[in-house]
Amino acid sequence: MDFSYTDEQESFRRELRAWLEENAPDGWLEDPELPDDDAERVEFLRDWQRTLADGGWAGVHWPEEYGGRGASLIEQTIYREEMARINAPPQINLIGINLIAPTLIEVGTEAQKQRFLPKILSAEEIWCQGYSEPEAGSDVASLTTSAEPAGDGEWRIDGQKIWTSYAHVADWCFLVARTDDSGTKHEGLTAFLVEMDQDAISTEPIHQPHDDRTFNQVYFDDAVATDDRVVGEVDQGWDVVMTLSAFEHGSTSIYSIEQRYLDLLEYCRTETRNGTPLIERDRVRQRLADFDARIQAAKAAHRRNVSKQMETGTPGPEGSMDLLVSDELRHDLLNFAVNLRGPAAALWENGHNAFDDTSGYIRSYGAWIAAGTGDIQRNIIGERVLGLPKDDKSKTSHRSE
């Protein structure tokens, strides 16, 4: 058993850290702050991803032939640690980088790879993912958006998607639609790559409680996709969904949570109440220590899991544990951070910025839900890890079918 990194792995870390010190956005290392203005922020994030791509740091886990580094899971862990260390700006095309490109690499045609991968990497084309529907929620297989052949190798798409992150800025959508409704709900689905710049597609932002509008409803009214934009086989879209969802489980946010915790620790060392630093209060110390222990546990569990995956190659349902633990940790930590502000907890902080605790705490409710809710993660653990009897009613979400 060895929890330490090899020299080779440490040199990966040094290379990345040096590159970040050289290439992080101006002033970021001293004071990480995203532009307030929506359009400016999108431009800033596009620039940042292009910078990453130019340096070879946008898709580290991609094969080298497509512009990645073929980074191992452990190197990906180091990558997350280092990005968290500087509170790096998010990759605007993260859905493309982490989910869609790996899926295309696995099941896409060579033409699709050539056409799409470079522009995913550089964020020249931003992607969104069209799964959820108003009546389908976490039960993705119940979706009703339809795609029908319209001759000349074209498909006509009709329906509505919801909770679609980045749809308002996306150039392409990875869409799953029903192409045959004669079978069971898992049959007759097809995955399409759909260009967003069509009159037949409109998006409507969803106003979220932290006053953000990054989720959308997307309406398809006779939108067009061509045959060469079908991923995998027609009517076999569920396999594609499963391929993509396997990539969802490989991720973890524990390192950015740890960084938040360390920032909070620093806050408690310097911030005083009645002249005494917060950190000297027993109740604050006890809570911080409990977070510390939970974070250490989650990190150690993640390393155990990564070590296992390095051998088996596939992320197991244990990924549900990481999601459950991380989402609850993030929420509890941010909620506690807001409470520590004293009476000022009655105020927004820093104008609803991505890095303030108040926005983060409210956003954490959304993160819970986006991750499939703890209820679903607990179903997955109960049924797929532990083998408890399945409730035919409570499908454990598309992630785990």
Binding site: R273, N339, G342, P343, A345, Y365, W368, I369, G374, S394
Partner: protein
Amino acid sequence: MDARLTDEHERVQETAREFIESEGGIDLARRQIDGENVVDDLWNELADLDYTAITVPLEYDGFGEGMVYLAALLEVAGRYALPGPLPETAAVAVPLIRDLGTEDQRSRFLPSVADGDLRMSVAVYDDETEPLPGGIRMGAERRGDEGTTEFRLEGTKTLVPYAAETDVVIVAARTREGQGYDGVSLFAVETDHDAVEATRMDSLDWARPMYELSIDGLTVGEDALLGPLHGGGSALVTAMDRFSVAGTAMLVGAADRAVELSVEYGTEREQYGQPIGRFQAVKHRTADMWVDMQSARSLVYYAAWALDEDEPDAARAAAATKAFAADRLHRVFGDDIWNHGGMGFTWDHDAHIYLKQAKSWRNFLGSPEANRDRLIDARLAAERNR
């Protein structure tokens, strides 16, 4: 013993509910959130319904009712996150003036409040990070000789609810150096002075605006001093108890609504071919929400009654109410979001309005931790005297 709301309480709840529904219900709060000022019009209507007169003594044209009656009303107000300084005016300012005011002060303020012509708020903090009483710093310099006592107020109060929508703010200031609340005096300050300026803060709960209230060398006469010089602290503590109970009553009404929303959604929304409320995870979470709401409601009623009756455990009950409810009701609203899945995490769903209100209230005028400290001190004192 009959620890239920009376028929009259229930009637006022029903009337209030019908009235607020007829005005748009929670859309009033949503309009306020969107930047409109709905308080002025709304207040006139509240006054027409005599709600502004509830706690004003009979001899000043009021109804002479207490916290129980008010709590029953505020539950309904909270259900709709109703904007306006009703708790500040009716639960905090009126009882302070009633209990501490001179005959002159009472006559000056109370009938106008009852009529709806005067709205009031309270300003305690000078520092938005320091808890009380350390957060009270503003000095009020005494001037003049024996005959013509005056006070010069200078400084900026923070976290003043509805300062720009109220006529008079009760300001806590230090007239003497002292430990804790010792040396704190209360002043009734009119907001339309040139020397007084209210600046909107970015309150988490946009339905309940908070202000910085800067007082730039305002000289007030002795008739602005409310209660004993240097000795306003204990009355302020009781006032905050009333405020805590009133605020929690609003949150209880909101929590009652959140339970309803979860039950409705759990009954109607289907996933995997079943109403989601049939899943035990949703059902049990909703049951726990209801239990927490009912527990908080029970504490509110008891504390309100104990405050009205001047029971020896009134302060302990108020501390218990805030300590118990703050985080638990906050979780009720979070669980309502959770029960609604993606639909819950939208601006259109009401839970976030309540959630932000709960979070705003949590530390305001005393965190749960501080209230637990007070509670246990009060309990120990009571046990020593048994």
